[in-house]
Symmetry: none
Subunit: 255 residues, 2 copies
């Protein structure tokens, strides 16, 4: 398992800075999205509000992660000494349980499908996303490598279902989008698939025998970069789509 | 009674994560409701403002509960050791005293009844809700099982009155609502009845001899889930009703 004692003082400080970076990126993306919300047509404002909500929830959890990281360790005579409070890894899961379903709902909302299609796709994809996180958690906190493997496999089932839905299931809906955003929506769907694929790899690192301070740096920096791509970069992409669709809708009305 | 020493370190941490989850859900629901307020017709904006107020008050109290939980215990060599500060259970009651009457007022406001009906129903239902919380409190903090039982019974009287008012008293008002929201308002009334029914059950757990760490997990996770359903899920339902009624009103005006 990942043991805090194996960190050098430099590595401990580096990870703390990574968390602070994550907090700053998430909070500033939130403010950007909410301040710019009124520049898109009313039909897309809920997508932008929820994009900002996702990064706001992530900002809160990066703050909690940073505080937990601070109090888990004291640096004494050049050594990293755990205080016994432990580093609360669960904050990431609490975050994902809320934000991962909302990320898929963002994408569905910005497409402006019919009311019933929006509802059914949100329930199916959002539900699968929540199930994926819930199934991942018991493996993440278990000391047993067998348990970790079993829950990794279980969690991959809803993950692969989401990938299938994004790549195949949305095809006809994407075909009906205005030309100016078809490419961007396709990119947003692939951004989800590729950035999310990173998480099951990080999850497996302890199984692959990666240990020590470098492993903790890889896991924490890796999850943070993946979070930034999946939430902040994705949110800006959703905003760009909403701006272009607002223009396309206005042109349609004037024609 | 529920004794903190009986918690394992894992259970203590789990409950802390549940409180943090509650805070994140309440705060993000508040932001969603207030940011989306302008997308409903002016007649429904007070209902949305109050829905957000309820989750904002709850977010504040979950923060206080989380901080009290943190300072009630230290984890020393793998053991949960109370600091003597105690875990402040009263925050839940202070929260309910404010939010429970407001929840009923949300429902009344979104129905857009006549001014006098809105006032009389708000006073009757809001007053009964406040009385229910006040009568519950002496039993909650008492060590005596007799006192607990007496105040449980007293508190159930206004509760049953509210249930009767929601199920029978609102029937004619619901019948006058637009078709697009009749079902949803009925659902909202039942969501109140069912989610609120959970609280008197949790209240009785110590009387039923449920003790130990598992009992604390059940009580705190149970109250938190009930709060999320009764406040956040209910608030989103009120928002959906307000959006549909805004559309129905606009169609009426254009017809």
């Amino acid at each position: 398992m990942l043991i805090l004692e194996s960190l050098s003082v430099g590595q401990y400080g580096f990870i703390g800075n990574v968390f602070s970076f994550g907090l700053a990126v998430m909070a500033s993306t939130t403010l950007f999205l909410w301040l710019m919300k009124s520049s898109v047509a009313p039909a897309y404002q809920m997508a932008i509000t929820i994009s900002g909500l996702v990064t706001a929830i992530a900002a809160y959890h990066y703050l909690q992660i940073m505080l937990s990281w601070d109090s888990a360790v004291v640096v004494t005579s050049g050594q990293v000494v755990p205080t016994g409070e432990g580093f609360n890894r669960a904050y990431r899961y609490v975050d994902w349980l809320l934000t991962v379903p909302l990320l898929l709902i963002e994408l569905i909302l910005v497409m402006k499908l019919s009311g019933s299609e929006t509802m059914s796709k949100s329930v199916k994809l959002g539900g699968a996303a929540a199930l994926m996180i819930i199934l991942g958690y018991p493996g993440e906190v278990s000391e047993s490598m067998e348990t970790r493997t079993i829950f990794w496999v279980l969690s991959m089932i809803p993950f692969l279902y989401i990938v299938k839905e994004l790549v195949v299931g949305l095809k006809s809906s994407i075909a009906n989008q205005p030309d100016s955003v078809k490419g961007l929506i396709n990119k947003a769907a692939w951004l989800v698939v590729l950035s999310w694929a990173f998480y099951p790899i990080v999850y497996l690192l302890p199984l692959l025998g990666v240990t020590g301070g470098n492993a903790i740096v890889m896991v924490e920096a890796g999850y943070t970069i993946a979070d930034i791509v999946a939430k902040a970069v994705f949110g800006i992409l959703i905003f760009t789509i909403a701006v272009r669709k607002s223009k396309a809708d206005a042109q349609m009305q004037n024609a």
